[in-house]
């Protein structure tokens, strides 16, 4: 798409705002509509747009496959780990009430952290799926580490 100057410039302008909107949907999710799933998809869209306009290889240079993999795993780990922390603080698994000084704040904090985990995994998975489909022929890197 190197000759589509308008698209290239507009995409470059839009991407920061898409990322910012993704973060807004993520972290404003407990006051307004939103949450990890929606935010993750919006956040991933920025990378998909970049890949569409500037090419898959450039996008892959920005986020190498191993970071995407780590993101997928880390999100799940954050969600499950929050539950484990609650367990260490004396509650049942996933009982966020014990996470802060009083139960409402604990629940708030718990959901906040857990949704971040969801957002991270969803964004990484979306990008991974896009890369996998777009990069058919040269597969998603399966070399270790």
């Amino acid at each position: 798409m190197s000759h589509h100057l308008v698209i290239r410039v507009i995409a470059k302008l839009l991407i920061p705002f898409i990322l910012l909107f993704g973060l807004y949907v993520q972290f404003h999710g407990d006051f307004g509509p939103g949450g990890g799933f929606q935010a993750g998809v919006i956040f991933a869209v920025a990378f998909v747009l970049y890949a569409l306009v500037y090419g898959l290889d450039n996008a892959r240079r920005i986020i190498p496959d191993r970071y995407i993999r780590a993101g997928i795993a880390l999100g799940v780990l954050i969600f499950a780990g929050t539950g484990v922390v609650a367990m260490f603080l004396g509650g049942n698994y996933l009982d966020y009430s014990v996470l802060a000084h009083d139960p409402p704040h604990g629940q708030h904090l718990g959901i906040f952290v857990v949704e971040f985990g969801v957002g991270l995994t969803v964004a990484s998975v979306m990008v991974a799926i896009f890369f996998a489909f777009a990069g058919r022929g040269h597969k998603i890197d399966e070399k270790e580490g």
Binding site: A80, D95, K143, E144
Partner: protein, 492 residues
């Protein structure tokens, strides 16, 4: 503190270690983690069974929300028993896995394998432990999705189509189950199984409940590969990596059968299932057909993994036959066969994995003269084969004995004929194997020598267990009887 959290830890430990395997990245580290975790999970399941047998039902509130609103993990004699089976097989198979995985799956994908394996284990244990109908669906999907990945890791490219086919069938089955749960939720307003059971008892004439029953029964029959809904199973088992076949054959269908049992006996109750919906004859006819057709097709297979896969279809028939009687003896027989079949089929597939490791093939051709080239592996296969037939002193005999007793006890002595015919068919396919291995000469230049000890030992542990529980039936029959009494007592 630890003991009160055991039900959660049973699921959380493998769940957390699955993403850790990805982050570790190195195959050796991932294997070490998976090995430790699987044995820890086994330890937890042993402790849970002990707690349940001593103190009765354990209820764990996930997130501190009280049932029936929150998700409840509920451990009773039935699922503590199934948890133990799944965790034990999980631990033995992972111990065996390393050389086989390195050879069949190849470098680069090994960490992916261990991650999927742990996720699959998480899903299977989750289905078993949870006391929430919707949660069953969620865990069912976790285990199914990871098992599609596991199957597609097979060397043969046909593994991909087998996996895709299983994906279609599995999704249909899970969707049917979910539709059933949705209808039940509409009729009862609850998702907690214990609460649901109380409310369903008052709604026996309700069409919504009856439709829910039909959807759930069919959906679970697909997941359990009950004849004639078994079409996904033979290819999936035949083309998956050896380790995966052994693991899934010994756990996945068993867990589906467990959910069937839960649905028939706990959610709907034996009276509704067997009197209002007259499930008994349906199950028995399908079970007998599964036994006869599965065993007959098995005779004509040249690929031994396919042969054993069709034999699994037949063995699932035995389990379902036991449930069909809906008596304590029958359900004991079914539950017993669940355990016994996990031992023998798990062991047999592990032994075939050893054969594949050495010879690179599991066709009947490759078996020629194997009795002399791999004496220990072949001896294990023979013990497993005897158990499939139901020779006395093996576990296969014990469960068939209970099924025979149940048939006579229910006044349906003619069913014993079908059990005997199916056993005779089993003799034919096991004999084909034995004949090739012991009575045919080895081809020139055939690879020789045993599989590594780390593969042989888990195989033999399962085989020796299948002989031990065939002789000393106190533990297995005792637990199965308690589970059956609990199921039939709790429902009425």
């Amino acid at each position: 503190m630890i003991t009160t959290h055991l039900p959660a830890l049973q699921i959380v430990v493998p769940l957390v270690s699955a993403p850790l395997c990805v982050l570790l990245g190195k195959a050796r580290l991932a294997y070490a983690l998976a090995l430790i975790v699987c044995w820890a999970v086994f330890g937890i399941s042993v402790l849970l069974l002990g707690q349940v047998l001593d103190n009765g039902v354990i209820s764990y509130r996930l997130g501190g929300w009280a049932p029936p609103w929150g998700i409840e993990y509920r451990v009773d004699p039935v699922n503590a028993y199934v948890l133990l089976i799944v965790a034990a097989i999980g631990a033995l198979v992972i111990t065996y896995a390393k050389p086989s995985v390195a050879k069949e799956i190849g470098s680069g994908r090994e960490t992916l394998f261990y991650t999927s394996y742990l996720l699959c284990l998480t899903g299977l244990l989750g289905v078993t432990i949870t006391g929430d109908a919707f949660n069953i669906f969620v865990f069912l999907e976790i285990s199914s999705l990871s098992s599609y990945v596991l199957i597609s890791l097979g060397q043969d490219r046909r593994a991909l189509t087998a996996s895709f086919r299983y994906l279609i069938f599995g999704t249909i089955g899970a969707t049917f189950f979910l539709i059933g749960v949705g209808l039940l939720y509409q009729a009862t307003g609850t998702l907690n199984i214990a609460d649901m059971a109380n409310r369903v008892a008052l709604l026996a004439e309700n069409r919504t409940v009856q439709a829910a029953f039909a959807f759930m029964a069919v959906g679970l029959a697909v997941k359990a590969a009950l004849f004639p809904l078994h079409a996904w199973l033979p290819n999936a088992y035949a083309y998956a990596p050896s380790v995966v076949t052994a693991f899934l054959a010994a756990t996945a269908t068993k867990v589906s059968i467990y959910v069937l049992i839960r649905t028939y006996f706990t959610i709907f109750g034996p009276e509704f299932s067997f009197e209002v919906m007259t499930l008994g004859p349906v199950l028995m006819v399908l079970a007998i057909l599964a036994m006869l057709v599965g065993s007959t097709i098995a005779i004509f297979q040249d690929d031994l993994k396919r042969l054993l896969a069709y034999s699994s279809v037949a063995q699932i028939g035995y389990m379902v036959l036991g449930l069909g009687f809906a008596t304590v003896l029958g359900v004991t027989g079914g539950m017993l066969h669940l355990f016994n079949h996990a031992l023998m089929k798990g062991g047999l597939f592990l032994a075939l994995g050893c054969v594949f490791y050495r010879t690179g093939s599991v066709s009947i051709e490759a078996m020629k003269g194997l009795g002399h080239r791999m004496p220990w592996t072949m001896a294990a296969i023979v013990i497993g084969g005897l158990s499939l037939i139901g020779v006395p002193l093996t576990v296969g005999f014990v469960s068939k004995w209970y099924l025979l007793l149940a048939a006579i006890d229910s006044g349906m002595w003619w069913i014993t004929i079908f059990i005997l015919v199916s056993s005779l068919l089993a003799i034919v396919y096991v004999w084909r194997l034995v004949e090739a291995a012991y009575l045919s000469p080895s081809p020139e230049g055939a690879p020789s020598g045993e599989a590594p000890l780390v593969m042989l030992i888990p195989t033999w542990v399962l085989m020796l267990a299948s002989v031990y529980f065939g002789v000393d039936t106190r533990v297995s029959v005792g637990v199965a009887t308690r589970a059956a009494e609990f199921l039939l007592g709790a429902g009425s």
